[in-house]
């Protein structure tokens, strides 16, 4: 049954509003970062100031909740349970050679693309923009769980290439899983052939960007000097919440909002024809 025109119009308006707001926030964040931020003085950046104003105690609690729920999602999915709407459902994925190949494919493409574009000057002064970040929602929406796990492995590979491999990479591993997982769960129609699906896609990119960043930041925070009795991360807490947290949100958000939905739209027929779409590869067993 097709969507009534009135309903379509409503979703179109929501899509445009969400996309424009996300884009404005991303551009504003990037612009103010370049023009205001001074290394070692996070309060020079307007976005950092707003975040630090709430206090590290607030972000510790928010980060802890997102960390626990995010980790639970990963374990739950591996145990064969998933969310269908607000219900927990048992599902079956074969984990056959194709699923494993999808994991390898997404890991190699994401890790390789991050490394290949590492340090690439996209716009002068914006050297930190990682265009490959736009692939995470694509892998989640089209390939589902194997795509999300592949994304996590890909980020780990990229960390080695960038020289960042360390204890923080474990947070990055699950954080990037979430970056692909949230769009996988929130976009009801992976073909993106309806305005509602586009709205869900933009919304999922915003939620995933914040969640991923909060997840990694909390992980870095609890292992940072002054917080952990055995510090395994070198970044001080003020730089974690004042620089890393907003920096990663903007970094993920900007490229994903611009590139991911069109890439999903273009790749969907190919992925569907090859029988690689997650909807065709999992079986829902029961609802709890």
């Amino acid at each position: 049954m097709s969507t009534p025109p009135k309903e379509k119009g409503k979703w179109l308006v929501i899509t445009v509003i969400v996309a424009v707001l996300a884009l404005i926030f991303g551009i504003w964040g990037a612009y103010t970062y370049v023009t205001e931020f001074k290394w070692g003085e996070p309060e020079t950046w307007t976005l950092s100031r707003s975040i630090l104003m709430l206090g590290s105690g607030f972000w510790f609690v928010v980060g802890a909740i997102l960390w626990i729920v995010g980790t639970a999602f990963l374990i739950m999915e591996l145990a064969g349970y998933t969310f269908m709407g607000f219900k927990i459902t048992k599902f079956k994925i074969r984990w056959d050679s194709i699923d494993i190949a999808i994991m390898a494919l997404t890991a190699a493409v994401y890790g390789g693309a991050l490394a290949a574009t590492g340090g690439l000057v996209v716009i002068p002064g914006f050297t930190w923009i990682r265009p490959a970040n736009a692939l995470t929602p694509v892998f989640g929406v089209l390939f589902g769980l194997p795509g999300a796990i592949g994304t996590a492995i890909g980020n780990f590979i990229a960390d080695a290439f960038a020289g960042y491999l360390g204890w923080g990479s474990i947070g990055g591993f699950v954080g990037n899983f979430i970056l692909a997982y949230i769009p996988y769960k929130l976009v009801s129609d992976p073909s993106l052939r309806s305005p509602r699906a586009w709205a869900e896609c933009y919304l999922s990119i915003i939620i995933a960007s914040v969640w991923c960043s909060a997840y990694i930041s909390w992980w870095l925070y609890i292992w940072s000097p002054g917080v952990s009795p055995v510090p395994l991360v070198g970044l001080p807490p003020i730089m974690i919440w004042g620089w890393f947290f907003p920096f990663v949100i903007i970094n993920n958000l900007l490229v994903s909002v611009i590139l991911s939905p069109p890439i999903i739209y273009i790749l969907y027929p190919v992925v569907k024809n090859w029988g690689l779409l997650w909807k065709d590869r999992i079986t829902i067993l029961s609802r709890k």
């Binding site: 591996l78 984990w95 050679s97 194709i98 390898a104 390789g112 490394a115 590979i157 020289g163 090859w274």
Partner: protein, 96 residues
């Protein structure tokens, strides 16, 4: 400081061991967890190769585009192999 990298390496080995145990217990997810662990350990091969080559800590102008080219090779070879495997399996399924 070597502690964080050793801790991360141990974490990766633990994931691989859990994956192998789950596979031996015939749990379907075992293969996925094993691949996760293997993926993490393969990353350490890159890491130690870069350490041996003295890549880390060198100024970017001395390394040039070597890491970017290597990243591109990982992308092309990895994606090529995965697509080849998928094509082969699909061909088998069709001819069955």
């Amino acid at each position: 400081m070597q502690t964080p990298i050793i801790a991360t390496l141990i974490f990766s080995i633990v994931i691989l061991v859990i994956g192998v145990i789950l596979t031996l217990l015939k749990k379907p997810v075992g293969k996925a967890v094993t691949v996760m662990g293997a993926g993490l350990l393969i990353t350490f091969l890159f890491y130690y190769a870069f350490v041996a080559a003295g890549v880390y800590g060198k100024p970017p102008e001395k390394i040039g585009y070597a890491l970017n080219i290597l990243g591109l090779i990982v992308l092309v070879v990895g994606a090529g192999l995965a697509i080849h495997v998928i094509k082969k399996i699909r061909l088998k399924e069709v001819t069955k």
